[in-house]
């Protein structure tokens, strides 16, 4: 995640607070999605950006997780995101995101 994006998120959290705030990610690559998720949860792993050492502990979800899919009307989901279910490793993505949420005490 670039520096500008990190600064934007930090300002957003400073302005809104973390209450009821969640992050939803759409990267098809599990590794890329995980790094983005960990940056907004535990801070910038490269320790270079505005989120370095800033643990926002925001709940993170991936749009391809089955639990996320269940929360969205089926027709909208199929139209907007369903195409990627066929090519992405949704099981691996779900496993990684559950682990990250587990570290902040969420399932």
């Amino acid at each position: 995640m670039d520096m500008e994006m990190q600064a934007t998120i930090k300002k957003l959290v400073d302005d809104l607070g973390t209450s009821d705030l969640v992050v939803v990610i759409g990267a098809a690559d599990a590794e890329v999605a995980q790094v983005t998720a960990e940056t907004v949860t535990f801070g910038d792993p490269s320790f270079a950006g505005p989120l370095a050492g800033v643990s926002l502990r925001l709940p993170v979800y991936h749009i391809l997780e089955p639990e996320v899919k269940q929360a969205i009307p089926h027709d909208i989901y199929d139209e907007q995101a369903g195409f990627l279910e066929l090519v992405a490793d949704t099981e691996e993505i779900g496993k990684r995101f559950k682990e990250i949420r587990g570290k902040i005490g969420m399932v």
Binding site: I9, L21, V22, V23, A27, Y61, I76
Partner: protein, 44 residues
């Protein structure tokens, strides 16, 4: 566990090679969430 987005405020990180930000935002709005930021990242 059932995840509920109704009433939540959502930061969206789409991906040009995955699900784009506006598509995720549309899903979240349909699920009853308020989208507060939409970004589409490009990692290439």
């Amino acid at each position: 566990m059932k995840i509920m987005f109704k009433g939540k405020r959502v930061i969206v990180f789409g991906d040009r090679d995955g699900v784009p930000g506006p598509a995720i935002a549309a899903c979240m709005r349909a699920a009853g969430a308020e989208v507060v930021m939409v970004a589409t990242e490009c990692f290439v």
